[in-house]
Amino acid sequence: MSDEINNKDKTTRREFIHIATTTVGAVGAGCVALPLVTQMNPDASVKALAKVEVDISNIQKGNEVTVMWRGKPIFIRRRTDKEVSTARQVSLKDLKDPQKDEDRVKKGKDEWLVMVGVCTHLGCVPLKQQGEYGGWFCPCHGSHYDISGRIRKGPAPVNMEVPNYEFVSDSKLIIG
């Protein structure tokens, strides 16, 4: 009986045991690899530093402060009216990563631009009030950002990131 079956699909008992053992071994190796690989992801203590509070009452129009959040600089710029209108006059057609300035700020707080001050190319910190578009310029490989932090020229693929944040009062901001 069993010989008949074996002849049909040509699987011997020994081959079956081989494959079964290898499969169990491979699954086991995968299970062991998982913790060894995931240990490298951000750990609990790193994730715990997820929020910062900033006092913005002293920032004048046309000025900017930089704070640290998750090891990265956050640019908080209180833009002048002229800067806001420059940002809004740009046609979306001229943008590499089209996004309206209105969508990069909170409603009613149009003067406040809050973004991660990290070049989206390879992570340098762009310099303020430099470059060809009156915004930021990244010296590493020459990316130019406008006054809304949108990429205009250079190798960076997308606009500078806007983090999650909210105004808890007129003078206080929470990032994260």
């Binding site: 790193v46 090891g71 590493c140």
Partner: protein, 421 residues
């Protein structure tokens, strides 16, 4: 190879060798191993590279006794090595300049192989192992440069790890996994230290395989031909090659010592003596000199993913070289046209290195684009085509041959020789 009639002389040697034939192994591979008798000084860099690896491992282990892998302490612990530790300055300068000397030697070694066709059959596996060693060397040097936690350490690490964010879809999670956080920070430093300690030992393992693979077909040689079976083309490794290698090594060590004692910082960047500051990027980020050609390729493309793909492609294309080169003749000595393209490639890589150190704009950007294009054209177009189109010079039948009869009668004489024998 010829491990034939070897017997240890001492009684203990015999006793031991019968149980573990280490002495026979050393005798066969480091004493009797037959080497072509026409090897020139370009062949001494293998020994020099072994010396460099051992130097890095010894000085590195000593540095690790005094170094602290923590974002708050690393920078001052390196200053502590420089100022307080007995001879710490010497050990660190040997290690830092040793990395540069290591790359200097490996570049000469690689271009030697390119000139004499040493990557061609039957030596493809030697070549591939060599490229893997080279890739690991770059990884080790990159992570080592992060350890002092200066401005260049930090921003170099930021730029290079961000290369992985160019991978579509999973890029961001991969970079966060590499960092162990949301930016380069303490978790990044500690894992880089662990890997920086590990990689040289992986390299050591690959070096052993590299030499094993070499000892199967034996060395290539300046004439690039297979050796006569009767052994008349070879000399034993010891003492002939050992002494020649040692002489070259002494010259190399003089240059090495020149850097360590008289110009220990010329190859480094002064910004790395400023502690890492995640809020301020230095005005001009450059990698160590030995990575500049690849950095130039990265920056020559105005697209993030494209630049990263080309940069890695420039390294990995070397793995395919044995199959891209279609010529039957190994040595450039007998390939008059390839010889010119070879020197053009050397020039091209030097130009890439130069523009890699310059700001990526204007004329430099243009030059880097032309040089990048030429680099790939050399490997993808010129190498395959040249094998078919080039008219090579007559190749002698043995190493002794070009010495005995010279000039153009060479080939005919060699042929006659073959018919007679």
């Amino acid at each position: 190879m010829s491990e034939t009639n070897y017997k240890p002389t001492s009684a203990f040697g015999k006793w031991f060798d019968e149980r573990l034939p280490l002495l026979t192994l050393f005798n066969g591979h480091l004493m009797q191993y037959p080497t072509p008798k026409n090897l020139n000084y370009w062949w001494t860099f293998g020994g020099i590279l072994t010396f460099c690896l051992v130097t890095q491992i010894i000085t590195g282990i000593v540095l690790a006794m005094h170094y602290t892998a923590h974002a708050d302490l690393a920078f001052s612990s390196v200053e502590h090595i420089m100022r307080d530790v007995n001879y710490g300055w010497l050990i660190r300068y040997i290690h830092a300049n040793g990395a540069s000397m290591f790359f200097l030697a490996v570049y000469i070694h690689i271009f030697r192989a390119l000139f004499y066709g040493s990557y061609k059959s039957p030596r493809e596996v030697i070549w591939i192992l060599g490229i893997l060693i080279y890739i690991l060397m770059m990884a080790a040097a990159f992570m080592g440069y992060v350890l002092p936690w200066g401005q260049m350490s930090f921003w170099g690490a930021t730029v290079i790890t961000n290369l992985f964010s160019a991978i579509p879809l999973i890029g961001e999670s991969v970079t966060q996994w590499l960092w162990g956080g949301y930016s380069v920070d303490n978790p990044t430093l500690t894992r880089f230290f662990s890997l920086h300690y590990l990689i040289p030992f992986l390299i050591l393992g690959l070096v052993i395989l590299h030499i094993w693979a070499l000892h199967v077909p034996g060395n290539n040689n300046p004439v690039g031909i297979d050796l006569k079976k009767d052994g008349s083309d070879t000399v034993p490794f010891h003492p002939y090659i050992v002494i020649k290698d040692l002489f070259a090594l002494v010259i190399f060590m003089i240059v090495f010592a020149g850097f360590v004692f008289y110009a220990p910082n010329v190859l480094g960047h002064s910004d790395n003596y400023i502690q890492a500051d995640p809020l301020v990027t230095p005005a001009h980020i450059v990698p160590e000199w030995y990575l500049l050609p690849f950095y130039a390729i990265l920056r020559s493309v105005p697209d993030k993913l494209g630049g990263v793909v080309l940069m890695f492609g420039a390294i990995f294309i070397l793995l395919a070289l044995p199959w891209l080169d279609t010529s039957k003749v190994r040595s450039a000595v007998f390939r008059p046209i390839y010889k010119q393209f070879f020197w053009l490639l050397v020039l091209d890589v030097l130009v890439l290195g130069y523009v890699g150190a310059m700001p990526a704009e204007g004329i430099y950007l243009l030059i880097s684009r032309v040089a990048t294009a030429y680099y790939f054209i050399h490997f993808i177009i010129i190498m395959p085509l040249l094998g078919y189109m080039e008219k090579t010079k007559p190749v002698p039948l043995s190493i002794a041959d070009p010495i005995i009869s010279s000039g153009s009668g060479n080939f005919a004489a060699a042929k006659k020789d073959k018919i007679l024998s």
